[in-house]
Every structure is written in structure tokens, then in C-alpha cells.
Symmetry: C2
Subunit: 403 residues, 2 copies
């Protein structure tokens, strides 16, 4: 007998398979998830096979195993990518994938050396994932699994039911017809992206408390929203929820400083009060109330990590923003408000042949890092700057200004 | 602060790393475990790094994912071995591995078609594991993780503490000096194996209720106990607990029938009342009160599965037997009493160059199956038959008869 909870989980998994990854019959489905997310993984597996998956391939990850490595393992083990794991990532080409979020212990590694935590990145695996992104080879999606530890972090009490309500609200699972709700939502976000693309701004300027930053835009890049399409023509929604319109900027042109407006759960620690300063496109200074070393370790692990890869705009109409919650989970928090990301570009935003992307100056196409952090809120003013130097308001007090 | 439970788990993991796998500094440690075994996996990871592991590589398995595949997946997915998984198994050569037992739901798949369950074996992966066994390439060990579901199956109540007591008793973890207790225990079992090797019996005869079976022995095979040694000289204990002396028989010479005396947890179902009949070494008939089809499916998946690979003798002095429990877990139940296995030979028992094993007639060296089932108990009479046809009692009423 299915309980009410089971039914919600099944519906959530079906929505993710249909609208999120948009799994096609005959594809393999690769699921990579935290061990504690097993109930969601099983539901996704069932939904995947029901949708015609040839094989559902599950890999569970465990931050406690990583913690043991960082505490007790040799230096060689830091950032090590086993060959078999790379082989698994290679096999994803042409197939569908899910990753899950909702860390039951987002600050498990807070007591460790931040530089070490930041450096411990499986770049061998990430490079393969980047290749897939660049080649539009995978229909992928990320979604969260509500659990006690995560609820504790969000609410200060392990109220999973309350967290499920928030997740169902943000992912439109609580709508009478979630698939239709997503169709409408995607259309609305795409219209907003189109209104930005018509203007062809030369740059975006951010101003607010602790923030005065101008970032150049690329002629070759569009603003996108909600959906990507694989090289083989499969349209999919890589984030559930998604409330943003986004582009990849000219990574050579960022001047000024910007201060985060929400905590950032990053690699097992939570970075608080992050402020970064840019010169000639590059982050030259990192400050934070907590966790600056994790960011510094991450930036140091990769030559191009300190350059911008993404600008994303979110207004106060966001369902995630409407909850008023801090989720300590980037998939959610980045969809509550404006954010930017240092590291790897969103290469899908570049028009034309994917193979030519890495040849375009100003596209940050060679970093294994992509870290979003939240910079928006009612006090942030976002302007589009025209080539002539005029400033056009885009966001004021969290309200979208363009028609 | 470590709780008492944590301390026991840490000690258990240390014992497994030192005595079980006998991990050597610089080796990789591969752990393959059910998701629900995460606490043990984490303890093994810590113990592994503390003992000098270069990298601890964890893979969690999930029978619910397998169940979804068998219920909803295509025929192609049955028995499929992903290439990356094979790559992981190849990487184990020269390294240490753990597998865990203690299935929280040993009859999860009982409602499915038994033939399908029995056929769903990752032979691509198993063939690589067999190659490692044949080449003595891996120091491996198996150990159980007490959990609620398993306790429920054993006691009819989820009394994990009671199960931990049984596990600590059987693995000698409750001894004042467990490492010394293992040293003594290994010596005693080896002496028993030596007493059998001196006699060089030509065959073993089993008689009891529902049992009358004679199995030939091989000139080239020894009886072994407790310890194996890798080609590189690492002595390790592949099973914790272990109470058996065992050999690999002449797979051409088995005549008669034998009836199991304990339930057999097999591939997600529990086989009850198994009786198998042999002719010219081969199983020609399979009967059971429940689960015969799982055995039949398994035997059908492999040309050599229906021939014997192991004979093992256990007397009433076994710690596992002393508990009086049925564990529904072969690692435990096979160490309570005499057992035999159909499928892959225990190639370690063959004297001389490992490379020559597959050339010896009568060694069942080419099956991907190895399934132990329990046949012992006070009513089983085990005799050694000499080349002259004399019968020498080995076990009577669970008491060892040889000096």
C-alpha cells in the first residue's frame, strides 16, 4: 500500500523524469546521489524504467567517506579521481543524468582546513562533465531530496514535512497539473530572456550594500532560461526549481566588488558574508565572515576559476524567494535571488556551433569550477549598460523593470 | 564524543582491516556495501586510512534499485554489467577489498519470478573477480553489519543490540584481545585441515535425513582453513567469522542427493528446504519448499554452475553454531555447520602455480556462480573414504572424529 508520502515522492520523480531530464526511451539514466537520498533514488529509478530507460545506473556518494580521507588520508588522495569513476562519467554521453541536492550535513567539514576542503575536487571527473556540457551531450537535471538534517539546517528543527511543503511549492509539484504549470512557467521565463536579448546590453552593473560591480557581456552570448537542448534535440530542464534568466559574461571585463546576500553551502562547509573583488575580470580578493579559505582553496585549484562564468537575474516573483527561507542549498538559494558564478561558463548560452565556443575570447571555457553565489535582494540595483553608456534599470526592489 | 556503540564499531573495523583484509600501507582499499551499511563503511574507511591506505574507494549497492530493474526494466538490463563497474573491479588487482553482508531485506525479491532473479547476475563483473581469485591478486574479506531489518529476520524483532552481541561473539570481537583470539583460532583450524591433508581421502560421503551423497576429492587439492595468501605474500582472512575447513572437490565425481538443513538467503529471496541431486558430478534435479526457481535460474545462467566447487566441514564447536541462531546470511550460517557450494572452485586449495589451475581436470574453474548452502547438523554423518574403499568417520553428532 502506497502511503501519501510515497505518492508524493513518486509524482516528484515522474515530474523530474518527464520535465527535468526529459528521459527518452532507450537512454541510460545515471543517478548520482548522497546515500541518505536512497528513497528518492529508488523513485527516480522506477520512474526512469517506466519511461523506457535501457538501464538505470546509480552511484551513491558519502561525505563521511570524504571527511575520513581529508582527516586521515595521504596527500595523494586529495582531489584524486579513480579511473572507473571517469569511465562512468564518459558513459553518460548521449544519456540522461540526475544529481540530487539537499545535504543532510551541509557543514560536516566545517572543522577541517578550508584550503584542503576547497582543493579536494575530482577534476579528472569534472573535466569529463564539462566536455559533455560543451558538446550538449547529456540531458541532465538536479533536484533536491527533503530530509531531517537538511530540515534542521533550514528550520532549526527536523521538520521534513514542512520542508517537503516548501519543495513541492518551489517545484510546482503542488499545482493541480504540475507539467502544465512548468510549461507556463518556462514560457514566462523565456519571454523575460527574450526581452533582455532584444536590448543587447554591453554590460550589467550591480549596486547595493557592499556591492559596486560592472561586468561586460558578450556579443555571441544570449540570455537563456529554464530549458537547454541537447545536440540530438532533447529539450530538458536542468534545475528544478528554476526561476532565473542567465547568460555567460565576458570574463575579461569585471571591475569592482560584490557581496553575497545569503550563506553559501560549499563543499561541506557554509561560507558566510562572502565578498569578492574583481580586477580585469579576475577575483583578486576574497573575504568572508566564515569559510573564505574554502573559496580560496577552490580558486587556487584551477587557473581560470577566479573568472566569471555566469550572471543570473531573479526577481521577487520567484517561488523560492516567496518562501522567505534560506535553504543552505544552492539549487534553491540561487533561485530565490540574483546570483553570479565564478568558474566554468554556461556554454549553452553561446550561439552557434558548440565546437567553436572555446575559441571565442571572453568565454571562460576552461575551468573545472562553477560556483554560484547569491548577491540579490531588495537593496540590489541591477542596470543594463548600453554600448553608448546609458543605464537601463533591470531590477529595483526585487521588481523586474523591463517590459 | 564517541558512544559505546561507536567504539565497538571502530574496534570491529580495525579488526577487519588488520586481521581480515590485512591491508598493507600504500594499497587501495575497495569497499562494496549495501547503502544501509554506511556506518560500517565509514568506520572501515577511517580504519583503512589509519592503516595507510592510499585511497579508500566506496561503492554502495541498493537491492531496491535492482528490484525496480527486474520489475520495470527491459530484458537487456538483466545481468548487465556497466563497463565502469568492470573497470572498478579490474582496479582491485593488487589491492585490498571488503564486501559486507547483513541484508536488511533478505527476501525483498521474494514476490518476483524466481528464474528472473536467479538469472540477474553481473557475470561481466564476476568474471573479473574470479580472475583475481585465480591469480591470488586481492586480499579480500567479508564481514556483516548488524541492522534492524536483519535483526528482524533473525529474531522476529528489530533488536540490533542482540544481533551485535551475536556478531561480536562469532567474530571474537568480545574477547579481551581479539587479534590474539584470532591467531589462536586460525592455528586450531589449520591443525584440523592438516589432519585431513595427512589422510588424503579419495572421497567424502554424506549421510543423513534426505541425504546420501558421495563426492570425489582431487589429488592436487588441499584442505585449507581461515587464511589465504596473495601472490605477493599477504596473509588474510577472507571471512569473519570463519569456522570451516574446506577444499575444492573433483567436480566430475558427485553421485547422490543432499538436503539443506538451513534456509539459504539467495539473491534477494530465501530458499527453504533445498534438495539437489547429482549425477556424474552435475546437479540434475533441484527441489525446494520455496525458491527452487531462483536456484534453477542461477544454474541455468552458466554452463558450469551445476558442478561442485567446495566442500566445507564445521563441527559443533563453531561459535556461530553455538548461538543456535539462523542468520539468513550465508557468511554466518555456513560457519554454523557443514556446507557445500555449487559453482566456481576455491582455486586457492590447488597446490602449485595458480596459472596451471584451469588445466587440471576436475577443478570447476570456469563458473561465475559460487553458492554455499548448509547441509550439516547432528544427524549428518560425514565419512572420509580411502582409495581402498574404507570409511573413516570425520563427523558424528557434530563432533569431530579425527585426531
Amino acid at each position: 500500500m502506497a502511503t501519501q508520502l510515497d505518492e508524493r515522492l513518486e509524482k516528484y520523480a515522474e515530474l523530474a523524469v518527464k520535465v527535468g531530464a526529459n528521459l527518452q526511451p532507450g537512454q541510460d539514466l545515471f543517478i548520482t546521489a548522497i546515500v541518505l537520498h536512497a528513497p528518492l533514488v529508488r523513485a527516480l529509478t522506477r520512474a526512469g524504467y517506466a519511461a523506457g530507460a535501457r538501464y538505470v545506473d546509480v552511484l551513491y556518494t558519502d561525505q563521511h567517506v570524504r571527511k575520513a580521507k581529508l582527516e586521515l588520508g595521504p596527500e595523494d588522495a586529495v582531489g584524486y579521481s579513480p579511473e572507473w569513476l571517469k569511465e562512468r562519467w564518459r558513459a553518460m554521453a548521449g544519456n540522461a543524468t540526475f544529481g540530487t541536492t539537499g545535504d543532510p550535513e551541509p557543514d560536516l567539514l566545517a572543522g577541517l582546513d578550508g584550503q584542503l576542503v576547497g582543493r579536494d575536487r575530482m577534476t579528472g571527473v569534472i573535466e569529463i562533465a564539462m566536455k559533455h556540457y560543451s558538446e550538449h551531450a547529456v540531458n541532465w537535471s538536479g533536484l533536491a531530496y527533503p530530509n531531517e538534517g537538511w530540515a534542521m539546517k533550514v528550520f532549526g528543527e527536523p521538520n521534513v514535512e514542512k520542508l517537503w511543503d516548501a519543495v513541492a511549492f518551489c517545484t510546482r509539484l503542488n499545482e493541480p497539473d504540475p507539467v502544465q504549470a512548468w510549461t507556463d512557467h518556462i514560457a514566462k521565463l523565456k519571454a523575460r530572456a527574450a526581452s533582455l536579448n532584444e536590448r543587447r546590453f554591453d554590460a550589467i552593473r550591480y549596486r547595493g550594500p557592499g556591492t559596486d560591480l560592472t561586468v561586460g557581456l558578450l556579443d555571441q552570448a544570449d540570455w537563456l532560461a529554464a530549458e537547454f537542448t541537447t545536440a540530438s534535440g532533447i529539450a530538458y530542464v536542468p534545475n528544478m526549481p528554476t526561476e532565473e534568466v542567465f547568460t555567460t559574461p565576458d570574463c575579461r571585463r569585471a571591475e569592482g566588488y560584490i557581496t553575497s546576500t545569503k550563506p553559501l553551502a560549499l563543499m561541506g562547509d557554509v561560507v558566510e558574508g562572502l565578498k569578492v573583488t574583481f580586477k580585469d575580470g579576475k577575483i583578486v580578493e576574497v573575504d568572508a565572515k566564515h569559510g573564505a579559505d574554502v573559496v580560496r582553496g577552490q580558486l587556487a585549484s584551477d587557473e581560470r576559476a577566479a573568472y566569471l562564468g555566469e550572471l543570473a537575474l531573479v526577481d521577487g516573483g520567484s517561488k523560492v524567494g516567496q518562501t522567505g527561507l534560506t535553504f543552505f542549498d544552492t539549487l534553491y538559494d540561487e533561485n530565490a535571488t540574483c546570483h553570479i558564478a565564478y568558474g566554468f561558463a554556461i556554454v549553452e548560452c553561446i550561439r552557434g556551433d558548440p565546437a567553436s565556443v572555446s575559441k571565442i575570447d571572453g568565454v571562460n571555457a576552461n575551468s573545472t569550477v562553477h560556483t554560484d553565489f547569491m548577491v540579490g535582494g531588495p537593496q540590489l540595483e541591477v542596470d543594463g549598460l548600453t554600448a553608448d553608456g546609458d543605464a537601463v534599470p533591470i531590477l529595483r526592489e526585487d521588481v523586474w523593470q523591463l517590459s
